[in-house]
Amino acid sequence: MSITLDHVEYKYSEGTPMETEALHDVSLEIRDGEFIGLIGHTGSGKSTLIQHLNGLMRATGGDILYNGESIYREGYSMKELRSHVGLVFQYPEYQLFESDVLSDVCFGPKNQGLSEEQAKARAIEALRLVGMGEEYDKRSPFDLSGGQKRRAAIAGVLAMKPEVLILDEPTAGLDPKGRDEILGQIARLHREQGLTVILVSHSMEDVAVYVDRLLVMDHGRLRFDGAPREVFSHYRELEEIGLAAPRVTYIAHALKEAGFPVRTDVITVAEAEEAILCTLNGTNEREKATP
């Protein structure tokens, strides 16, 4: 199970004076079970890129392979691709339309051709996966809070049992508690169900904690592709393209400049805590050692 992008290009309004290049020569491979973060400045091509992965947008150049088969091949079923590659758009709660939560989550599985009962079973499973209990099943999706609506919408995609789950800024506009809950549940799905996850985010802190591979987009190009620690070590270049490293990375660098021998490759708060404690203990021991 993998998605391969082979020199993918996308141009808006090709052949007119308004032609703009949204993706330029993007090649990458998304392997089974990866947890990938995708970051980039507004307009860098992130959203365009993810819409290519389930065939909502068609590349104007290059090729995309799903499990080794070109999705642009004659007769390839886009509908089937979309049930393998689930895409949760930004502010997915605005796609809710049914009169109760359960029916709304059933929409996807029903489109896949499942029977009423099967769809319902899938929907219930998906709702429990995002932490929404039975008490919500019969409620109107429009009476829920922002975070609950969002979870119901994510369940709507999960109910289709995708192998790859793409989320475009799933935490935008949520409070810290809602954000941690959603990201925690996504991480659990990745861990327990072996789901391949692609997380588009603006928060360097979030991607540093959760993902194990980080893609950085800039002006339609793939600028970095690697482990978060490795990518964030280029924090000067990241700043040039309107991004940054997690705040703790800067703190570590500042401490080092101030003369403390701290590791500077920390990217999460937990790591920073450990590194600073380690340095403090080290200095203490040295102080003790000197009479």
């Binding site: 509908k79 949760v88 758009f89 605005y94």
Partner: protein
């Protein structure tokens, strides 16, 4: 999809026509319409054609772009030509079964087509060279005299400009929701009429909800800025006539005069 409509979309270039006061252009459009309906002989049409093409040249909007705007009215055009062609009495030229083509019919349908084409070209030229905001500003001020008979001109203008402003927003929103539902396996393209109609529900419900939400948000934002209607409201860019506008008025009136003279005298 809906982005491809050229009819009525502002064409952003710098030109003397773009710089004219919107009231002048509105008046000019009215004059053109009047002139086209007054016209009844070939000389009137030649005059009108010369006028329209002169304004197009001055506006720097490519003629091709304007002709593209004729596409949506093509059906209406063909319809009226066919009706005039077959249903005008006069000297019969060709006859088969119950249909007959007369000399008068040919002339009339030709003139009708020309009239319609110039009508659409002239009015789309107005919207090509005037932003929606300028247009509503011009309407508001140009029709300001109606306030005397208690017609809420400002409110109508505000409603119009808000409606115009929301068209691209709702188009974008439709696009977004459509994509989101497609990602969930929805199918908007295949099936019969009933199936397609049903498929619209997942699109229309969120669209309406979002339109109402945006309307409520906007109303609140306007209230928060103490909006209370048109009374005593000042403008950041008040409309003022300049020399070019005065000259345009003289030219437009001369054009209408010439058009009437051509009809009466010939």
């Amino acid at each position: 999809m809906m982005r491809d409509i050229t009819l009525g979309q502002y064409y952003p270039v710098q030109s003397p026509i773009h710089k004219l006061d919107p009231r002048t252009k509105l008046f000019g459009t009215v004059i053109l319409i009047a002139a086209l309906f007054v016209a009844d002989n070939i000389f009137c049409y030649i005059l009108a054609a010369a006028a329209v093409f002169a304004v197009i040249a001055a506006s720097r909007v490519p003629v091709r772009h304007i002709l593209k705007g004729l596409k949506p009215v093509l059906f209406l055009l063909i319809f009226s030509v066919i009706f005039n062609l077959f249903l005008t009495d006069g000297k019969v030229l060709v006859q088969f079964w119950i249909f007959k083509i007369t000399r008068e019919g040919i002339l009339r349908s030709l003139l009708m087509a020309v009239r319609l084409i110039f009508l659409v070209m002239g009015t789309s030229l107005l919207t090509f060279t005037t932003t929606p905001n300028q247009l509503t500003d011009g309407l508001e001020k140009g029709l300001g005299f109606l306030k005397v008979i208690r017609i809420p001109v400002h409110e109508f203008a505000m409603i119009m400009s808000i409606a115009l402003r929301f068209i691209p927003i709702l188009v974008e929103e439709t696009d977004r929701i459509m994509k989101a539902q497609t990602a969930r396996g929805a199918d908007f393209e295949s099936g019969g009429l009933i199936k397609r109609g049903k498929a619209m529900i997942p699109l229309l419900v969120p669209l309406f909800i979002s339109a109402f939400r945006r309307a409520a948000d906007l109303a609140q934002a306007m209230e928060a800025r103490c909006y209370h209607g048109g009374d005593g409201r000042t403008k950041m860019k008040p409309l003022r006539y300049r020399a070019a506008d005065r000259i345009s008025y003289v030219v437009m009136l001369a054009f209408l005069g010439a058009d009437i003279a051509l009809r009466v005298l010939l």
